[in-house]
């Protein structure tokens, strides 16, 4: 009996730890290893044909104009996408929490709905909406007197179109996190402020937003990491086109790895992205700590 209860915790956590080791930790070492080789499809069939190339893959990928373009596109996605996601989900959360009627609870479901649906399915639907000839969006625009928009065929507009789709999908989850944070604020702060004659706007900027600092920080970091890995939307909708205008760092890695089978090269690209993600997260954490100290 004693023996079984000593072993028990390891039996409970063992299988999961093994799986995480094989599919999360070991892969990092494998990726690091192959990023220093010229592994490709031939190397997959015959390991002896793989040769060590040192840091050549890293030098090549950092000089690859497509990769640099992919990094610039990724930066574009992050710089435009992250503030939009935060502003919209925070705005929706505030409005929903502001409402006193039970009806407002319905909005939680409505705004969350896109988050649970399949990305391929919604990308298929949005491709149709964005269709230049028979798409709904251009029909609405032309019928109220605007010109047709080349939603997915002009590089910059295509990036914005993908951001719009991703924004639509990501409002829900972040809104829920913000609502949970709003519900955690003690009502007595507001009662005290109202007794002092504070306006609604003052209550928002002096109580609500400061109290939500951690939630905003959490959403900022997770959203930023998510957008740095932006993949599915350009993969399904544009395959990185037009003229690599929507290719993201993740999509570049996928294409080089699985479409061209340049495993070593793609692994090197993935470490550049990993390094960027770590750097951005570090900067965020440091900013947060500085802010908390003030």
């Amino acid at each position: 009996m004693k023996g079984s209860s000593k072993m028990a915790p390891y039996v409970f956590i063992g299988p999961t730890l093994l799986l995480l080791a094989v599919f999360s930790l070991l892969p990092i070492l494998v990726a690091l290893g192959i990023s220093l080789t010229d592994m490709d499809l031939a190397g997959l069939a015959d390991y002896s044909s793989i040769s060590f190339v040192g840091l050549a893959n890293y030098a090549d990928v950092l000089g690859d104009p497509v990769f640099l373009l992919a990094l610039r596109n990724t930066l574009f996605y992050v710089v435009i996408g992250v503030p939009l996601v935060i502003a919209c989900s925070l705005g929706v959360a505030l409005l929903i929490q502001f409402g006193r009627s039970r009806l407002f609870k319905v909005f939680r479901v409505v705004y969350y709905l896109p988050s649970v649906t399949n990305v391929v399915a919604v990308a298929v639907v949005w491709s149709y909406l964005y269709n230049p000839g028979i798409g709904l969006f251009n029909y609405i625009l032309t019928s109220i007197g605007f010109d047709k928009v080349p939603w997915l065929t002009e590089p910059t507009i295509a990036k914005l179109s993908l951001i719009l789709l991703a924004l639509w999908r990501s409002i829900g989850l972040n809104m829920i996190i913000f609502i949970a944070a709003l519900q955690g604020i003690d009502r007595s702060y507001y009662e005290a402020a109202q007794l002092d004659g504070a306006s609604g706007w003052q209550q928002l900027t002096r109580i609500t937003l400061p109290m939500m600092r951690f939630a905003i920080f959490f959403v900022t970091i997770t959203t930023m990491i998510g957008w740095l890995q932006f993949f599915e939307e350009p993969f399904v909708m544009t395959q990185g086109g037009p003229l690599n205008g929507t290719v993201s760092a993740s999509l570049f890695i996928y294409q080089n790895g699985f479409q061209y089978s340049h495993f070593g090269y793609a692994a090197a690209g993935s470490f550049v992205l990993f390094f960027l993600i770590i750097a951005v997260t570090m900067v965020q954490l440091r900013l947060q700590r500085k802010q908390a100290e003030e």
């Binding site: 391929v120 149709y128 519900q183 495993f263």
Partner: protein
């Protein structure tokens, strides 16, 4: 919330009501925009191929047809894709059980290296999928699991976030009941299966729903691991459909609706539990 309203002076009421209406209207307008793609998807799925190309577009299908849905199963192989998707979803429930076990192990036992191992589990959340994608493929290829069902499900079996949520919930379970069960002579494993799991119903329910949604939507691993169309899931099949029928939007919308509508129904049915899940996680 009620308190705040009753304490407001009466003179503020009309202005407050106006603001309430304004908030409601803004949310309604944007809410319509949120569901518009789904509405358009469903309406278009029931139109004929000719009607869908017409300009100006019809709102309501003129000749209501379910032909597009039948073609998913006759021209495309959506029956097989559906079977595979359900099989993957079923498999992922094994992963759910493993996560629950691990969460319990971390929540209720003191053992050497517990904190460090748990931190390690959390740290795996930080590793981007792009880094592990290629090596996991190579590892699976090394043990000949590419192009197999097992290879598709294994990489996504465990979820660090799931383990975290289980641990959070299970550490709140009362120690006394567990001690009493132990005194009755139950082994740790029976304790887990017959006491802990039934007491964890709320978190199990949420995780089960999320596991189902995740399995149903799974896309990347089936795409990478399955070379054979026999192993395609619905999302990979839908991607194939989009590539093969680039201009047949009615068929595409039927395929998308077939994937989206079941999840929508499940979500609307269980929305309270799913949304409250984030309160359990303690992100505040």
């Amino acid at each position: 919330m009620k308190q705040a309203t009753t304490r407001k002076p009466a003179s503020a009421a009309p202005r407050g009501r106006l603001q309430q209406w304004a908030a409601g209207i803004v949310l309604t307008v944007f809410g319509i925009a949120m569901v518009l793609p789904f509405v358009w998807m469903v309406l278009s799925a029931f139109k004929t191929e000719g009607e869908i190309k017409r300009i100006p577009p019809t709102l309501w299908p003129e000749a209501f047809t379910v032909d597009n849905f039948t073609r998913l199963f006759t021209e495309m192989d959506f029956g097989t894709y559906l079977g595979n998707t359900l099989l993957i979803t079923l498999f992922s429930f094994v992963g759910l059980l493993l996560n629950a076990m691990a969460g319990f192990g971390f929540a209720k036992y003191r053992f050497k290296g517990r904190e460090k191992l748990f931190l390690l589990v959390l740290a795996t959340m930080m590793i981007p999928g792009q880094v592990t994608m290629i090596p996991v493929y190579l590892i699976l290829n090394g043990v000949s699991l590419t192009n197999t069902m097992l290879g598709i499900v294994l990489p996504g079996f465990t979820s660090a976030f799931g383990i975290f949520l289980f641990r959070q919930f299970m550490s709140t379970l009362p120690e006394e009941i567990m001690e009493a069960t132990r005194l009755d002579g139950a082994s740790e494993y029976r304790l887990f299966a017959q006491v802990v799991l039934p007491m964890s119903k709320p978190i199990l329910a949420v995780q089960a729903i999320l596991t189902f949604i995740g399995g149903w939507n799974s896309f990347l691993w089936p795409l990478i691991i399955a070379n054979d169309e026999k192993l395609y899931t619905l999302s990979v099949g839908l991607q194939l459909l989009k590539g093969q029928n680039t201009t047949n939007f009615a068929l595409q919308m039927a395929g998308a609706a077939f994937m989206v509508l079941p999840i929508m129904v499940i979500f609307i049915f269980f929305q309270r539990q799913i949304i409250e899940n984030y309160n359990i996680s303690g992100i505040k």
